[in-house]
């Protein structure tokens, strides 16, 4: 593979621009669905784009007490992590641009960059709301990155591979894993929602308690980058779950149908529940989710062995 091709895939397709675009579309679908569930009309289709462009064009205020370098670097790092992760997943149902044995682990680490950066960004400022938000973000990281990982391990163990493209292919050839591993699917979906801090797991940015959590002090570009980062993660997360549990992604139509289907379910969950307190969030996972997911993993390993 030559350098030009690498650059192209990194900057335009499937990474970079294309991913940004699809991230915005997915965000719009999500917001629109939630609005519809709430009996509202909801935003127009270009809303996320307008939001992001507007934020980019706004003044960026850097609070005096923060470490300037970190303050500027963290949003970039978060977005970069998310974009890089896109190279290893079967976006649009195409084969991942890059693939090597064990890329599943790398991808998951890259996806965690986002939460880490947000936590750090909150801890970097001296605003009280940001600090509380940072602690909550990191707490949530420990309770929801783990289950997401565990839930994705299920299909990996069954197929005997740690390579996303292989699992994807395998998933397409066998019975959908959602049927054989329903718990894993639910945990993966809930884990994804927790990861993205969507309601009801939005305690880290609970508007009514701590304003906007870790990002309270961010304005303009920094905020825009974090938002895009989140959108990109949403797409990648949905892609991963769809590829693993919904019978793999082999072509663009499948990709669209499956990820959008998942999004509808997620939007429904978002509008159905009241926000969980951070202790409830953690408790729910470690008391219920973790045990179930581990039990399922154990069964899978025993059955295979």
């Amino acid at each position: 593979m030559n350098t030009a091709w690498i650059l192209l895939s990194l900057l335009i397709f499937p990474g970079g621009l294309f991913l940004l675009g699809s991230g915005l579309v997915y965000e719009w679908v999500d917001r629109k669905l939630v609005a519809r569930f709430q009996n509202r009309i909801g935003p127009r289709w270009f809303q996320p784009l307008a939001d992001v462009v507007k934020l980019l064009a706004k003044e960026e205020i850097i609070p005096q007490e923060v470490h300037r370098g970190l303050f500027l670097l963290l949003p970039v790092l978060a977005l970069a992590g998310a974009l890089t992760a896109a190279l290893y997943v079967p976006l649009i149902g195409f084969k991942p641009s890059f693939s090597f044995p064990g890329d599943l682990i790398v991808t998951l680490y890259l996806l965690s960059m986002m939460s880490l950066c947000m936590g750090l960004a909150g801890a970097n400022t001296v605003d009280r709301f940001s600090l509380v938000g940072a602690t909550r973000t990191l707490t949530q990281l420990f309770s929801y990155e783990a289950p997401f990982l565990l839930a994705l391990l299920g299909p990996a163990i069954v197929t005997g591979s740690w390579q996303i493209s292989q699992i994807n292919a395998q998933a397409g050839n066998s019975l959908w894993f959602i049927i054989t591993q329903p718990i894993g699917f639910v945990v993966a979906l809930v884990g994804l929602m927790g990861k993205l801090e969507l309601p009801p797991f939005d305690a880290p940015e609970a508007e009514t308690e701590i304003v906007s959590g870790a990002l309270t002090e961010y304005s303009g570009r920094g905020l825009a980058l974090f938002r895009i980062g989140k959108d990109v993660e949403l797409v990648i997360g949905l892609t991963l779950v769809a590829a693993f549990y919904l019978g793999g992604l082999a072509n663009p139509i499948e990709f669209l149908l499956k990820t959008m289907g998942l999004l509808v379910v997620m939007a429904g969950l978002q509008s159905l529940f009241a926000r969980l307190r951070i202790d409830q969030t953690v408790g729910l996972w470690w008391r219920v989710g973790a045990l179930l997911a581990l039990a399922q993993l154990l069964v899978l390993i025993l059955l295979r062995g």
Binding site: I41, I61, S212, E217
Partner: protein, 166 residues
């Protein structure tokens, strides 16, 4: 937005994109500087299904750092004045202010009161006034629309806006 006229067509295009985005994504922050609640409840009502301002991309934000439009209600009381100024200063440029309700316009019934500084315009520059005691949610939305209209064209002038011209 007192921006310099740009000669370069590329810059002109960029500028158009920028103002398009601004017009379509006004995030608001709400501050009550001493009102009776009537206006505040009506502002909140604009978020709800019957009025649903998210249609226009208007979102109520919690942090002043994220907001473009400060929607302010009530006469400014002595205690709220500093807060109001602080919130205004915390907002990143470009920023706009909408004064909602009769009290915000002129101090209303509370003019001259010992604990009241006066209208919102006495404390921070205001772009759009929405009269009423309290204004209906429709009127508040109309006020925001007037602001957006003025962004499309010439420099917003508080007086022209107050006259509903925009």
């Amino acid at each position: 937005m007192n921006e310099v006229k740009l000669e370069n067509p590329w810059q002109q295009a960029l500028d158009r994109v920028r103002s398009w985005a601004r017009i379509n994504s006004p995030w608001a922050i709400h501050f009550n500087s001493g009102s009776c609640n009537g206006c505040d409840i009506e502002i909140l009502a604009t978020l709800t299904p019957r009025y649903d301002v998210e249609r226009f991309g208007i979102k109520l934000q919690g942090s002043p750092r994220h907001a473009d439009v400060l929607i302010c209600t009530g006469p400014v009381t002595l205690q709220a004045r500093d807060r109001l100024v602080r919130i205004y200063n915390q907002m990143p440029e470009p920023k706009f202010v909408i004064a909602v309700g009769s009290c915000g316009l002129s101090g209303g019934a509370f003019q001259g009161c010992y604990n009241v500084v006066g209208s919102i315009a006495d404390v921070i520059p205001v772009d759009v006034y929405v009269p009423g005691c309290p204004p209906r949610p429709e009127a508040i939305i109309y006020g925001v629309v007037q602001l957006l209209k003025s962004l499309k064209g010439e420099t917003p002038d508080p007086q022209a806006n107050a006259a509903g011209a925009g």
